[in-house]
Symmetry: C4
Subunit: 207 residues, 4 copies
Amino acid sequence: MIPELGKQFYKLGWVSGTGGGISIRRGKDVYIAPSGVQKERIKSAEIYIFDLESEQINEQASPAEAFAKKPSECTPLFFAAYRLRSAGAVIHSHSLSAVFATLITPFAEASEWVCGKMEMVKGIKGHTYHDNLVVPIIPNTPRECELTESLTEAIQKYPRSYAVLVRGHGVYVWGDTWQQAKGHAECYDYLFGATIKAHKLGVSLKW
Amino acid sequence: MIPELGKQFYKLGWVSGTGGGISIRRGKDVYIAPSGVQKERIKSAEIYIFDLESEQINEQASPAEAFAKKPSECTPLFFAAYRLRSAGAVIHSHSLSAVFATLITPFAEASEWVCGKMEMVKGIKGHTYHDNLVVPIIPNTPRECELTESLTEAIQKYPRSYAVLVRGHGVYVWGDTWQQAKGHAECYDYLFGATIKAHKLGVSLKW
Amino acid sequence: MIPELGKQFYKLGWVSGTGGGISIRRGKDVYIAPSGVQKERIKSAEIYIFDLESEQINEQASPAEAFAKKPSECTPLFFAAYRLRSAGAVIHSHSLSAVFATLITPFAEASEWVCGKMEMVKGIKGHTYHDNLVVPIIPNTPRECELTESLTEAIQKYPRSYAVLVRGHGVYVWGDTWQQAKGHAECYDYLFGATIKAHKLGVSLKW
Amino acid sequence: MIPELGKQFYKLGWVSGTGGGISIRRGKDVYIAPSGVQKERIKSAEIYIFDLESEQINEQASPAEAFAKKPSECTPLFFAAYRLRSAGAVIHSHSLSAVFATLITPFAEASEWVCGKMEMVKGIKGHTYHDNLVVPIIPNTPRECELTESLTEAIQKYPRSYAVLVRGHGVYVWGDTWQQAKGHAECYDYLFGATIKAHKLGVSLKW
């Protein structure tokens, strides 16, 4: 699935310039793509398999061809969602909608993106039409792995959220299965775009 | 046709995040996709067949594989168009153009979206270039099936319209055949987008 | 070529909702698609062949299957470009960029769209980087065939232009070959879009 | 690779209307597409092979079919990047994001586009998250080959940049390999788009 989703997300503008990423879990096997590759051209043979508990590469199961590269820099961030939320898949998108959702929100060390009054809010598990959907925004860091601590805190502080935004960077989205993670990612991206449009038009999208 | 149109509408941004839907009628057989599935990955074997008159699933004709899921939540809304307008197909889109067409229109319990001065108005059956195209806007409800009553009223009150907008949600569009429903959906979506652009530029698109 | 270009132009948003069209000339044979069909689904067997001089359907050469429909309403407009400019192909696009290029230009019975300072101006035959590209804008009419007279006048009055814009409707673009017509259509569309963006940003694109 | 990348870049809007181009180097062989062709329809048999040192066509290795046309007008510009930076590939894009990145920057004979506070800055070799990414902007000229001198100067003056913008025209981007050149082109295009959006929203993207 990862190569196929890579192509689809590339067309959506989520993983251009080798940015972004996708990880899927099957039982205790966690599939993670290599670092710095063109996400629309990943081959199955390049994908690493990590063990869920040890968070180490399963060297026997991972294809030899892949070992020339490093696993994605997002690896510890993917594991935060697996560990804290029993996620079945995690998507990391650099979509400009996600990035500008963080930029139209007034800056503060700890801040939130909020959206309501939209049917698509129901696309996020556990939310009804009358809810305001809330996603925490954490500051970006020079290296991706340095985000792990603040991402972990945000996940713990916002137990209803299936996403964490990173200012000027993008978003991490997860779900119980890859289908739900993809559905969540599409709904969040749609709503990020909606709040930017609404901001330009002076329309409020909060209850 | 439904799986093929699902792929096409996904590319247009009408059915992302498992939202939106398509239904086609052939004689007394009404084809409806299951609820909560990825619309660009529907398989023929998953599609339900309903009976037009009883509005019940035809259990013999519907493929067994599909029964694990529920039919689309839009089912009673699709039937409103089949019953009141003898529609041949109904398309439900979550397009951001449709949603923002409802948001740039000043709020009121009962309100309308109006567009003229555009050639594409002629793409809607029964309209000429000098007509203002009018689409009723109804308020959204927590559950999709709760829209049935207000959608039915709107269809009856606007006999020239082939669409009903739902605030913050999307649009229902129909036609005598699936080709006409698709043509209508494309024309309406184009014109929704045009009124948003015109709104930003301070240009009036009404006669 | 017409079915293939139909698919390509559909993806570009030029021929949605059965609007727009394409015609190609090979010697004295003029190929024209039927009226009111989905432009991304045209089949070769549906295309009419007209005679360049008589401007009548060549009934022997046109496939029988096509006769159930009418040829495109644009037919007399396509012939204006064939007759007055010896065009090898004509493209009619409903692109929102073309439409808004007419709407940001202050209204007048006879008006013009003007664009300079852009490399892509060189993509239109006979133009250099220091030229302002000028396209006449004619008012729209209730029926497409009623445009013939004003389109003919505009073509004659603007001998350097390979396009005529129609207010609130779209654009007719031609070239000596289908390749040039397509190149012209892409350059004009790009530049229409650029003038709209520039208008929003308060940037002037005229020498 | 050139035909495949041509199709991909066409979908991204970088090479419409026969504009833009791609060149790849393999050792001392430099592959360059012909001038004025549809970039999404290039065939391998049409591509010229130049010698890196003599900067002349390798007539024996270049396919005969190609000789009916001229090599791309960008040829001397591609060679500037090969000569001064040992580039492995050069991409020339007419993307509207690149063009408007030059137009929102106040005009001056010598000017710069600057962008920071964005994760994607790290996608350009030699840059960290805390860097401002700087790209020189040179004025456009009536003929493409006349850009060679100012492009050469800009490359020499900005040794950290992997791109040069041309006002009202587009951008030249390169990398050590075609994969890196494509990654750079996608990151720059994403960031050009981001600065335009930020400009509209009144958000600053500089450290």
